[in-house]
Symmetry: D2
């Protein structure tokens, strides 16, 4: 598995009149988590699109345990548990507040899609190579 | 069960550079669907807050089957399959485009919470009374 | 001049913890106002992009006089005072609440840009023809 | 005068199908700029609300010179040119990309409002004291 953590400060725009972060905005936090997860591997999602691969989200599951509030510096943990075998990749997200309380969990499934063909494709080889060491038996020894 | 359908026109702001609606924006469409569902029963979510009840979302599951695009007039079907027994209510949403293609499904769980006590509470009696006829054996006969 | 009015219901997502619509969200309301203004003339902004013209915003001025609140059905008045002489078009927006109180005014300047050349271009001829009757001396007689 | 600079990385959610940041999203960037500007003075906007003062935006002027794009690390310069004499404060914002090209300028006027009375009030004394050294004749000598 490979995990990377990012922090985001909650914007006023992201709150609603319940004085908490609007439930729909966690999708953006998860997106930021994935973008920084990829960057930490020496790749970027921007580069992914430049080489002709898009990653639309096909499924999302979110559990809202505790609310996030304005100006909190939240931590988004992004975790890949299994190396994608084919066109599908599943990310696990956890959002924590400054007191290290778990606020939200998310499971987001995306596809690798070729812009050229409009069909499903595989994870780019470069990214796969960067990830492989974290998914081998030796890695944890 | 009780269903109500609403239409929303996709805003430019809601698209992203994949030329489709950003995946996080469906939470807003579902919210609009629920607001109009409640309004169709002679109640409003605004009134709910005025009488001291808030409805935070505690869980959301979304499947993205086909993308919605700019300027499409999408239909959000909002469905309650079971009358809440206690503090929890589960809505089922389906989003269709103008060609009646199913784009997205969503299952959103919310709690009724008392603003005064900060504790879970029940659905307001008025709303329950409006809903009851749709969930009785006679209704479908 | 040519004016067209549209209504939008304020979403929960659009409020912030000040219990009013977040100031940044009026840009979306203005966008909706312009989209429906164009549609009322038998054209759409979608069609504009299909024929190779984009309209980036180059300037915006907004005055926030009174706040809009959750669930209010607001009216967005969109007004063109002068027929564009070249690549620039200036829209005037006014947002009213249900009691007909003026909440916000906006002045938004956009350019007509050719996607093919990346250069400034003119308003599409079709749209200009639809607008001309509203800007001739005879029209007001 | 007192200036503080903050960086923000453009999110996918913030782009639109023109492949640039949606014009309405700059209001959020300006908000982040102001929040970090205040924090740099040892105060926070969160604290402002806790002591009973809200700062609604009453006017905004934005010029869009060049577009910001996905994943760019933009710099938001936030500048106070004059110490507020009464309830009104005017911020000047400039957004730059990584190549130090000026993308956007903004001028945002806010009021200090007392939550208790609903009336205009003055800048909190603590914040004023932190700012004063930057606005005295001696400071620039």
């Amino acid at each position: 598995m490979y995990e990377y953590d990012t922090t985001v400060r909650v914007r006023y725009a992201e709150t609603d009149q319940m004085n908490i972060v609007y439930y729909g905005n966690y999708a953006q936090y998860f997106e930021v988590g994935r973008a920084e997860w990829i960057r930490s591997l020496g790749f970027t999602y921007k580069k992914m699109e430049e080489i002709g691969i898009r990653m639309p989200v096909v499924k999302m599951e979110v559990k809202f345990l505790r609310p996030a509030q304005y100006d909190e510096l939240i931590t988004i943990k992004t975790l890949l548990k299994e190396l994608p075998a084919a066109h599908e990749i599943i990310f696990h997200h956890e959002v924590y507040n400054e007191k290290n309380k778990l606020l939200t969990t998310g499971k987001v499934t995306l596809y690798f899609m070729s812009v050229a063909t409009g069909k499903r494709t595989d994870m780019p080889e470069d990214l796969k190579l960067s990830l492989t060491p974290f998914f081998t038996a030796n890695h944890s020894s």
